[in-house]
Amino acid sequence: MLKTELAGVKLQNPTVLASGIRGVTGASLVHMAKEGAGAVTTKSISLKERKGHPNPVILTFEAGIVNAVGLSNPGAEEALPEIEYAVKNAKVPVIASIFASTITEFGKVAEIVSKANPQLIEVNISCPNVEDEFGRPFACDPGISTVVIQKIKKVTKIPVFAKLTPNTARIGEIAKAAEKGGADGITAINTVGPGMLINIEAAKPILSNKVGGISGPAIKPIALKCVYEIHKSTSLPIIGTGGVTTGRDAVEMIMAGASAVGIASGVYYRGPGIFKSVTEEIQKFMEAEGYRSIKEMRGIAHEE
């Protein structure tokens, strides 16, 4: 009843550990899989190692979380054994998240992570924390999005998902462009903003980077709207991500058009047990309302 599929990859339940959360090490991904995640995503990996921003990098506020970790990662070659460990031990699909600053580099990173045989590759063309370095030209330009995906599809046989930013008025168009490039699916959304938090006693922005991407319950309505738009413009499978903390949130995402549901900040609110809890809550809802499959609920909010 809770089974779902992403470009031919089968998930036992629709919850997906989203990129950037508990995904630094292979053992950490396996731990989240054991906690009940239907699939797990690595932290985004680049060709070369990146230190990221100095602390403070992750902050909570009354309606969510703001982060500017700055895409820290050990580089693709160093990350490879971690992905391999997860693929070997997780017993659920592993999604390798990648990012780069040039189209050529995207190809190289995709080639390296493919050696670990993850079930999916997620292409992060949308991180707002290093916008001028990485995000904007790819995530907000339909033409370049197409070329990036084309490049990656040439070097790997693994299905490719494009992770999109909500920080554009044209997300449906970008999704279509990714599809044109050969994308097998869409992950949406990345964090919103960037935003800022100021501590008034310190009279300063708190993040060392001053600005950071917003996640958590505050962004759920934006995520739903984006997933709805994407589903309207393409038939690709969607991992709907953004502010999901309960089974009800997850069902909303599925009704907007998602085939699976990303969970990230929710781990803060409900702990790693969130995957199991959300799955149970979805099941209870489906039983109460008489739905027999995720597929049956998918995109149902589009019906007139």
């Binding site: 630094v24 292979g26 990221g52 990098v57 902050l59 909570t60 506020f61 820290s72 990662n73």
Partner: protein, 266 residues
């Protein structure tokens, strides 16, 4: 909704502990337990996870040693200066109800949470053996405070400038041979804690260690402090771990990961 925002407060008192360390008392209640930590933020300088070194009467303290750029900037603070914190986070030491004697083993900067633990244990009527090792006399922390609190203080230094010349682990071994100790607690360099855990295991005495890793969020999200091969985050399921659990971790006393996630040998 759940929220762990920074609270910025003025330092009520700054106490010089050793040549390069200070204890700051902040006028806030945390409802903390010994072993837990806070994320300490000096606006403009940065943020660091740091053990709570005491809490009573609605005030808590942290002890900052001038080591890296952020802690050096924090070390310079004086009474009245502003300091931010969020927390308390993580697991805590547990003093068994039926215990009569405990031993704590601190090395270098690791003594701060043990001083807090010892004061709590003494208040509960336990006999506390406070074992502390350091490179030299100038680096010993809390020895005087612990004597005053009523602990039996046993010191060791690498150069013999105070207490016995040698390691705190040797002091522990001798103590366990001659005294009935109900539980051992340790915090300090990982190699030392590993020895303490092994010695306790050999003597069949329960032990708790404090394991530290590079931390970013402190709230179980970023996964930077995940340890092999359990994959647990030490900001949530640590820093305090039972000795056996720590010994079961592949990386305990062997390697850690830096801010990028790259493995670094101890």
């Amino acid at each position: 909704m759940k929220n762990d925002e920074f609270i910025v407060a003025r330092i009520e008192e700054a106490i010089q502990e050793s040549k390069d360390s200070k204890t700051f008392i902040l006028p806030n209640a945390l409802n903390s337990r010994p072993g837990q930590f806070v994320m300490l933020w000096l606006p403009g300088a940065g943020e660091k996870p740091i053990s709570i070194s005491g809490e009573k009467n609605g005030k808590f303290s942290v002890t900052v040693c001038a080591v890296g750029p952020v802690s050096k900037a924090m070390y310079k603070l004086k009474k009245g200066d502003k300091l931010g914190f969020r927390g308390p986070f993580g697991t805590h030491y547990t003093i068994p109800k039926d215990s009569t004697s405990i031993a704590v083993v601190g090395g270098g900067y690791g003594s701060a949470p043990l001083a807090y633990l010892s004061e709590v244990a003494i208040a509960q009527g336990k006999k506390v053996y406070f074992i502390e090792g350091a490179r030299n006399k100038a680096r010993l922390l809390f020895a005087e405070r612990m004597k005053k609190a009523g602990a039996e203080v046993l010191l060791s230094t690498d150069d013999g400038s105070e207490g016995i010349k040698g390691y705190s682990t040797d002091v522990l071994k001798n103590l366990l041979k001659t005294h009935k100790i109900d539980k051992v607690f340790t915090c300090g360099p990982e190699i030392m804690m590993k020895k303490v855990a092994e010695i306790s295991q050999k003597f069949k005495i329960k032990c708790e260690i404090s394991m530290e890793r590079y931390m970013k969020c402190g709230i179980g999200l970023c996964g930077q402090c995940a340890v092999d091969e359990l994959g647990i985050c030490l900001c949530k399921e640590g820093p305090i771990l039972p000795g056996e659990k720590a010994l079961s971790l592949k990386e305990f006393g062997s390697y850690r990961r830096d801010s990028t996630g790259k493995k670094v040998e101890w």
